[in-house]
C-alpha cells in the first residue's frame, strides 16, 4: 500500500467516520434530551409548588419563565435532532432504534397540543400532551436499551435484530414513511391553523381600527 492510499483511507475515514460519529453521538445524546424534557414536563407540580412560595412577583415570574423556556426549548431541540430518523439513507445503513421516527412523531404531537391548546391552563390538554410524550419516550427507550445498546447480550439477539433499523431495513423504512406522513399531516394542520388564526385576529384588529376611524370621522363631521 502506497502513502497515497493511506492518505485516501484516512481522508475517507475522517469524512465517513466523522459523519457516523456525529449521528451516533446524537443518537446517544437523544435519551438525555428525552429524559430532561420528560422530567421537566412531569415536574410541573413541583415547579408550581415552589412558585407559590415566592414572596415577590418578580421572583415568581423569573422562575416560571425559566421553567417554560427550558421545558419547551428542550422539546423543540429533541424533535429537531430526531430529524435524521426521517432520512432513508441513514435509517437504512446505521444502527438506530427502529421506532425512533414514531417517537419523534409523538413528540411533535405533544408539541402540537401545546401549540393549539393552553396546556398550562387546561388540565385535559396537559394530560394529552403528557400521554404523547410518555408514549414517544417509551418507543425511543425500549429499542435503544434492549437492541442498540445490547448487542453483547445473546438473550436479546432476537429483539435486537427486530428493533434495529439496519438489521430490519424493510420494517424500518415502512415505519419511517408512515411517521413522515404523520409529521407532514401535523405540520400542515399547524400551518393552516396558524394562518387562519392570524387571519382572524388581524381581521378583527383591522375591523376595530376601521370602526374607530369611521366613528372618529363622524364625530369630526358633526
Amino acid at each position: 500500500m502506497k502513502p497515497d492510499d493511506v492518505a485516501t483511507a484516512i481522508t475517507n475515514s475522517l469524512v465517513q467516520g466523522g459523519t457516523q460519529w456525529l449521528i451516533s453521538t446524537i443518537v446517544a445524546f437523544l435519551p438525555v434530551l428525552w429524559t430532561m424534557a420528560l422530567m421537566l414536563h412531569l415536574g410541573r407540580p413541583y415547579v408550581l409548588r415552589t412558585l407559590r412560595r415566592c414572596g415577590l412577583r418578580l421572583g415568581a415570574d423569573i422562575w416560571w419563565m425559566s421553567y417554560l423556556l427550558m421545558r419547551d426549548a428542550l422539546l423543540l431541540i429533541t424533535f429537531g435532532l430526531s430529524w435524521f430518523f426521517f432520512e432513508p439513507n441513514i435509517v437504512y445503513n446505521m444502527a438506530l432504534p427502529i421506532t425512533g421516527s414514531l417517537a419523534a412523531l409523538f413528540l411533535l404531537l405533544s408539541l402540537a397540543v401545546k401549540l393549539s391548546r393552553r396546556v398550562d391552563d387546561d388540565v385535559n390538554a396537559y394530560r394529552l400532551s403528557t400521554l404523547f410524550m410518555v408514549v414517544g419516550a417509551t418507543l425511543y427507550y425500549g429499542p435503544l436499551v434492549f437492541a442498540i445498546e445490547a448487542t453483547s447480550q445473546p438473550s436479546l439477539a432476537g429483539f435486537a435484530q427486530a428493533f434495529t433499523s439496519n438489521t430490519n431495513q424493510t420494517a424500518a423504512l415502512v415505519l419511517m414513511w408512515i411517521s413522515l406522513a404523520g409529521v407532514a399531516l401535523v405540520a400542515a394542520w399547524l400551518f393552516v391553523r396558524a394562518l387562519m388564526s392570524a387571519n382572524r385576529s388581524m381581521a378583527r384588529h383591522f375591523t376595530k381600527e376601521k370602526g374607530e376611524a369611521m366613528s372618529g370621522a363622524a364625530v369630526g363631521g358633526e
Binding site: A9, S24, T35, M36, H41, P45, Y46, Y126, R127
Partner: protein, 211 residues
C-alpha cells in the same frame, strides 16, 4: 489490505474510541456532580441562615430560587448522565462502578419524592431525600473509589474485591444490576407519569368532593 479495509478499520476505531471517551468523561464528571449536589443539599441550613439575614425580600427570593434551581438541576443532570448504566453494552465494555445504576435509581427516587412530596417544607420528606442521597452516594463512591480507581494498585485479595466492583471485570453482575435498574426506573417513571396525569400537572391533587 486495501484502501476500503483500512478506511473501515479507522472508522471503527474512531467510533469506538470516541464513544468510550465520551462515556469515560461522563463517568469522570459524575463524582463531581454527586459531591456538588450533596454539598448543596446538606448546605440548606447555611442558605436558610443567609436568607434570614436579607433585609430585602427580592434578594432573599432570588437566592432561594437560584439555590433550588442549582440543586435540582444537578440532581436532574446526575440522573440523565447515569443513563449509560442502563446500557448492557456499555457496562460490559467500560470501567464503571458496579452499583452506579442503583445510585441513579436513588437520585430518581429523590426527584419522585420532590414531585409527590415537599422536602423543603416537610421534615419527613426532607429526611427521606437525605437518606436516599446518602445511600446513593455510597452506591456510587464505594465501587468508584475501591473498584475503578483502585484496581491499578491493588493486589491479592484486594484486587479480587476491586475487580468485583468494576462493571467490565464483573460483566454478569453488572448486566444483571442494569436490568434491575431498568425495571426500577420503569416503575418509578410510571408512578411519576401516573401522578402527573392524575393531578393534571397542578401543584396538588384536587380534593374529592364526595364525603
Amino acid at each position: 489490505m486495501n484502501v476500503t479495509t483500512l478506511t473501515n478499520a479507522i472508522v471503527s476505531g474512531i467510533n469506538a474510541g470516541a464513544e468510550q471517551f465520551l462515556e469515560g468523561t461522563l463517568a469522570a464528571i459524575l463524582p463531581v456532580i454527586w459531591l456538588a449536589l450533596l454539598g448543596l443539599h446538606l448546605g440548606r441550613p447555611y442558605i436558610m441562615d443567609m436568607i434570614d439575614r436579607f433585609t430585602l425580600r427580592l434578594g432573599a427570593d432570588l437566592l432561594w430560587l437560584i439555590y433550588i434551581a442549582l440543586r435540582d438541576f444537578l440532581i436532574l443532570s446526575g440522573v440523565v448522565m447515569s443513563f449509560m448504566f442502563l446500557f448492557p453494552d456499555v457496562v460490559s465494555t467500560d470501567q464503571l462502578p458496579l452499583t452506579g445504576g442503583f445510585a441513579a435509581v436513588m437520585l430518581f427516587a429523590v426527584l419522585l419524592v420532590k414531585l409527590m412530596g415537599d422536602p423543603d417544607h416537610n421534615l419527613r420528606d426532607f429526611r427521606i431525600v437525605t437518606y436516599l442521597l446518602g445511600i446513593g452516594a455510597l452506591f456510587y463512591f464505594v465501587p468508584y473509589l475501591f473498584g475503578v480507581m483502585f484496581n491499578g494498585v491493588a493486589s491479592g485479595q484486594l484486587l479480587t474485591i476491586s475487580n468485583f466492583l468494576v462493571s467490565n471485570t464483573n460483566a454478569t453482575w453488572a448486566v444483571a444490576f442494569g436490568y434491575i435498574t431498568i425495571a426500577l426506573f420503569a416503575i418509578m417513571g410510571a408512578v411519576a407519569a401516573g401522578y402527573t396525569l392524575i393531578t393534571g400537572g397542578r401543584a396538588e391533587v384536587p380534593e374529592s368532593t364526595s364525603k
